[in-house]
Structure formats: C-alpha cells, structure tokens
C-alpha cells in the first residue's frame, strides 16, 4: 500500500485514515492511539489558552507537527464569520494554510450549514487557504464546493459522534462519482466495518475521532481501523464481484461421478 499515496492540493499523504485528537483520557493515550492508527493527518481544534492553569500540557508536545500534518478544524463555529475567524487564527497559530472547514448548522445534529459552508469556503480560498470542507452527503453541494476551489470534500457518513455508520451509501456513492477530487468520509463511523465499507465504496480516506477515542480500548480500536481502511481500499482497487440472487458453483461439474 506504500505506493498508493493520497494527494490533495500537491500534498502527499501516506495514510488514508485520518484521526481526530479529541475525547481521549490523556495526551499519552492520544499519542499511542494515533501511532497505532498509522494516520499521518490529525485534526485539532483552536481554543483559548488556559491562562489561569499554566501547568497544562500542550497537545503538540505529544503530537510532533514535523511527523504529522496538523489539520485545524473550525468545530464549534455556527456562523460564516466565526468559521472564517477561527480559520485565520489557526493559520496564525500554525504553519500551514490547511483548514478543515466546519460551519455547523444545528447543535443537536451537528449537521453542516452547507450554505454557510460555501460562503465561508469562498472567502477563505480567496485568502489562500486550502479548504477541506466538512459537508453533507449531498452531491450537488459537493460539486459546488469543488467548483469554488476546494481540493477535496469531506462528506459525513452519519452525525458526528453518532457511530451510526454510513446512513446513505447511495448518496455517498453518487457524490464520489460526481466530483473529481479526493473524497474523505468524515464523521459517523462506529466500528471497523464502517470504515472498510466507506473505502470499498470508493472513498479516498476516512476521518474519525469518536469511534477510536470512545472505544473501550482506543489503542486496539485504532489498530483495527488501520487494517479496516487498508482492507477496504484494497478491496476497492481489486474490484468486487457483482451481487447475484442465485448461487454460482465455484467447483467444476466436470469430472464428477
């Protein structure tokens, strides 16, 4: 799988599993799980520094930005203005123009506000950002995002943190066929088979956080996800057999008594 590189906006990625860094019990656990997952892209959020408790450790002491591509997100942003502001802050705090753009539409579902997303993406692309948009499994919206210059799209499989798996595989497949940029399935994965399925459908990568961090054993689940993404990718490239209603014998009739 080493020659099977994912390329987005001229950047090359080894791993097709991308992981979030939230919800872990400790930075040490975060570090170990990411290592086990084999991911080389990790998402982070941008928040106020705790100025009253200075002893607090920094996530980036555990996740070496030289080893991993740090992908800041705009999680928690419900307006175009907030998403743009946080993207600019992320760029100021970090070293790259990459941003996983989220404009959340609703607190209960955390579904993206796709109208706001397109608007924010347009502003940020004009400012030189490489915008990876967290979007719905809507092929038309995905096409619009690509048209305005997003080098990849990140449709959800199911609501963030729900673990429901791929709720609309047909839409997701249509979406993948509708755009000519990498598709990273983001959010909704519950277990390894969900990740494998996303890759079998033709996703270029899968991003997850809760499925690993929330597992009883996050480090073991991280490893499971690594193999699931590999298996799904290999199966996709190998080409599955068509589904048929009736049996087809795999042993020859010839030579039977």
């Amino acid at each position: 799988m080493t020659d099977d590189r994912l390329i987005i906006a001229g950047r090359e990625f080894k791993s097709r599993l991308w992981v979030g860094t939230g919800k872990y019990k400790s930075f040490a656990e975060t570090q170990k799980a990411i290592e086990m997952s084999g991911a080389d892209v990790v998402t982070v959020a941008v928040r106020r520094v705790n100025i009253t408790d200075r002893s607090k450790e920094n996530l980036l002491d555990y996740i070496d930005p030289k080893k991993y591509t740090i992908l800041p997100n705009t999680a928690g942003c419900y307006t175009v203005e907030d998403a743009v502001r946080y993207s600019r802050l992320a760029r100021a705090a970090g070293v790259s123009d990459l941003v996983k753009l989220e404009v959340i539409g609703d607190e209960k579902t955390l579904f993206p506000d796709t109208a706001g997303l397109i608007e924010a993406a347009r502003i940020l692309i004009k400012e030189g950002f490489v915008v990876l948009p967290y979007t719905n499994d809507d092929p038309i919206v995905a096409k619009k995002l690509v048209d305005i210059g997003c080098p990849a799209v990140m449709p959800l499989a199911a609501p963030i943190g729900s673990g429901l798996g791929i709720r609309n595989p047909y839409n997701l497949k249509i979406l993948m066929e509708s755009v000519n940029v990498p598709v990273i399935v983001d959010a909704g994965v519950g277990t390894a088979s969900d990740a494998a399925l996303a890759m079998e459908y033709g996703a270029d990568a899968v991003l997850m956080n809760t499925a690993i961090a929330g597992a009883r054993d996050p480090i073991a689940m991280a490893e499971a996800m690594k193999y699931a993404v590999w298996a799904g990718r290999l199966a996709y490239k190998a080409g599955r057999i068509p589904k048929k209603l009736y049996a087809t014998a795999s042993s020859p009739i010839e030579g039977m008594l």
Binding site: R88, L89, A92, N209
Partner: protein, 100 residues
C-alpha cells in the same frame, strides 16, 4: 513602567502596566510564543510583531492555541475552553436518548 491599565485577556479583566508589549504579556503568563495566535481587539497580530505591539488601556486580547479535537464540537466533553468572545460557563447539552 507606565501607568496602571486594565486589559481583557481571554475574557478576564487584568490589571497591567501601560507600555507593555504582547511579548511581555505572553512571557508573564508563561506562554510560549510559538503555536499560539494572538488577537488584539479582533485583529490577528503577526507573531513577528509580538515584541513591538504595545497594549493600551481597554484592549481585548485573545490568546489561542491548538487543543484536542476531531469531528466534534463545544459541549462535547473534551473541549472545555469557552469560545472566543463567550462567557466562561459550561454549555451543557442535553443528552440524547439512547436509540438502541
């Protein structure tokens, strides 16, 4: 140093001395200048200007950095810092009923 001033740092009012720079403030708060973004009155300040930008009475300073996060959101458990410009109170989300 200069006269007493009040500035707001990450939502908290703090007494300070006039004439201090952003670099002085970060040093005083023991915050490393790399990996942070600083906003003064909603304007992002270039890291190269930390040492020359002097703070004035009433300035609103925001200091931000990267924390653990994935496809998640405020109130999700792991993100305990408040959003920029919002009061420091936890925003409880009602737990959704189990569906299985």
């Amino acid at each position: 140093m200069g006269e007493a001033i009040k500035i707001q740092v990450n939502g908290e009012i703090r007494d300070w001395r006039g004439g201090v720079t952003v670099a002085d403030l970060l040093r005083d708060l023991e915050i490393a200048t790399d990996r942070v973004a600083v906003e003064v009155n909603l304007e992002i300040l270039d890291r190269a200007k930390f040492a020359e930008h002097r703070l004035r009475d009433g300035d609103r300073v925001e200091i931000l950095s990267f924390i653990g996060g994935g496809a998640l959101c405020i109130g999700d458990g792991s993100v305990d810092a408040p959003r920029v410009g919002e009061p420091k109170e936890s925003k409880e989300r009602t737990a959704s009923p189990a569906i299985f």
